[in-house]
Symmetry: C2
Subunit: 264 residues, 2 copies
């Protein structure tokens, strides 16, 4: 069964951004609904995806939509497709706002957010001059991937180890991150974001998070949102698998969404 394979892939994917996984989830659910798969199964699949990614707000919204409309495949497909279209339109608007807002100089980021990446590309096209300090972002090392993509796009980059970044942030104009979720207590994002934000604010560096309203998750942070990080090494050594942490709202200077730039 093709869709079961796709489901397993989505559930075990620890590399792709929330944005990419949301697209894949919508496509999968729409395909399943089109092929006549029943409501109970659809709801289960949507819940399974959210349980595999409990820190991804957009996947929570998809599960909500599926729960509400699974009995009416046509409406479900249309609502899911509308959700995706909205999310894409919102992303474009957020990227445009972020690229206008982006200060020149050095920008610190952590992990790989599609929205951060596209905002930087867009700011570069607007001829802003900046350099991106990318943390390697272990476990996972998504910052290395981001650095590679930015270099390909002709953007000035400095790749630093996660602990080296504390020296670099003192030279930065802003820390800009994405968000896996904007939950009730703060921003859910790659592990390490909290300590970087804490130190940034102590230093006086503003910390901004870019997202869209689909990132809003109307629940409180819980331990299960920590997710499951890839292993640092394959050896039989006990390892911390925490993938996400919570950066309290009080550490966040502001957010950028499709409506604009909001200082908190």
């Amino acid at each position: 069964m093709e869709w079961q394979k796709a489901l397993r892939r989505i559930c075990s994917d620890r590399k792709s951004s929330a944005f990419v996984l949301t697209k894949k989830s919508v496509r999968l659910l729409a395909r399943m609904a089109k092929s006549g798969i029943g409501a109970t199964k659809l709801v289960k699949v949507a819940e399974k995806i959210f349980n595999a990614h409990p820190a991804m707000a957009s996947v929570w919204h998809i599960a909500q939509i599926t729960h509400k409309l699974a009995g009416s495949p046509k409406n479900l497909i249309s609502a899911l497709e509308q959700f995706l279209a909205d999310m894409e339109a919102h992303a474009k608007a957020s990227i445009s706002h972020a690229s206008d807002w982006l200060p020149e100089g050095k920008i610190l980021t952590h992990s790989f957010s599609s929205l951060v990446f596209q905002s930087l590309i867009c700011a570069s096209q607007k001829e802003k001059r900046f350099e991106v300090i990318c943390t390697a972002s272990f476990p996972g090392g998504e910052g290395i991937l981001l650095a590679r993509e930015l270099v390909k796009a002709g953007i000035k980059v400095n790749l630093v180890s996660d602990l080296q970044s504390f020296v670099w942030l003192t030279q930065c104009q802003a820390m800009l991150i994405g968000a896996d979720a904007w939950c009730e207590d703060g921003v859910v994002h790659k592990v390490g974001t909290r300590i970087l934000a804490l130190f940034s604010r102590q230093w006086g560096l503003p910390v901004w998070s870019i997202g869209t309203s689909e990132k809003r998750l109307p629940v409180r942070w819980s331990e299960r949102m920590k997710g499951e990080a890839p292993l640092l090494v394959r050896d039989a050594i006990s390892q911390d698998r925490t993938l996400y942490d919570l950066t309290d709202w009080e550490l966040i200077t502001g957010v950028i969404d499709e409506f604009g730039v909001h200082r908190l």
Copy 2:
């Protein structure tokens, strides 16, 4: 020429501990002196090693000895061998003091110090109960090697990414590191030590450094002591190559050397 190959290896070695590199340097210089190589050459070689490892105190002492005694090969060899023998005896004494001092519970360490490793082994033989939180310690990842060696020795280990460690340190009884040098301004050690020590002390966690008197470097910290870290990735991406940083004495709770445990 065999010694030139050995010299190149010592100079380019970014993985071995100061302890291991010091032994190799002494062996090389003694071998050269025995084979009748002239004083000027010997001094140059000793300086070359120190210039390649400007943060390693013991290598500085070796260069001092070579400078003083290069004209008298017999005396040089005997002084170098005495230095090595002293350093080994001092290491044993330090390890014994550290293993007596080591608190039970969770111990945070960063990078791979031979003295820390052996102190942990010794404490374990004394039936102390503890778990070692090893930071991965990028760039280089020496903490992964340490975790592997500790597991082999039957010691309980938790390997954590460099940024995950800030959560773990709040559960620890002490942070224990080695030292590349105890210089005038503080402890020179793997990059990231400073921010970990800063946060540890803010949290109330004591920070201890184990070494021997051969680690004392009577000079001030300078930019050249930053060393040259291995690359995070081989791509043509600009990367921070800082290998060492300075942890000011005011962040260090105390040091352990061959004379005992000294609270500062």
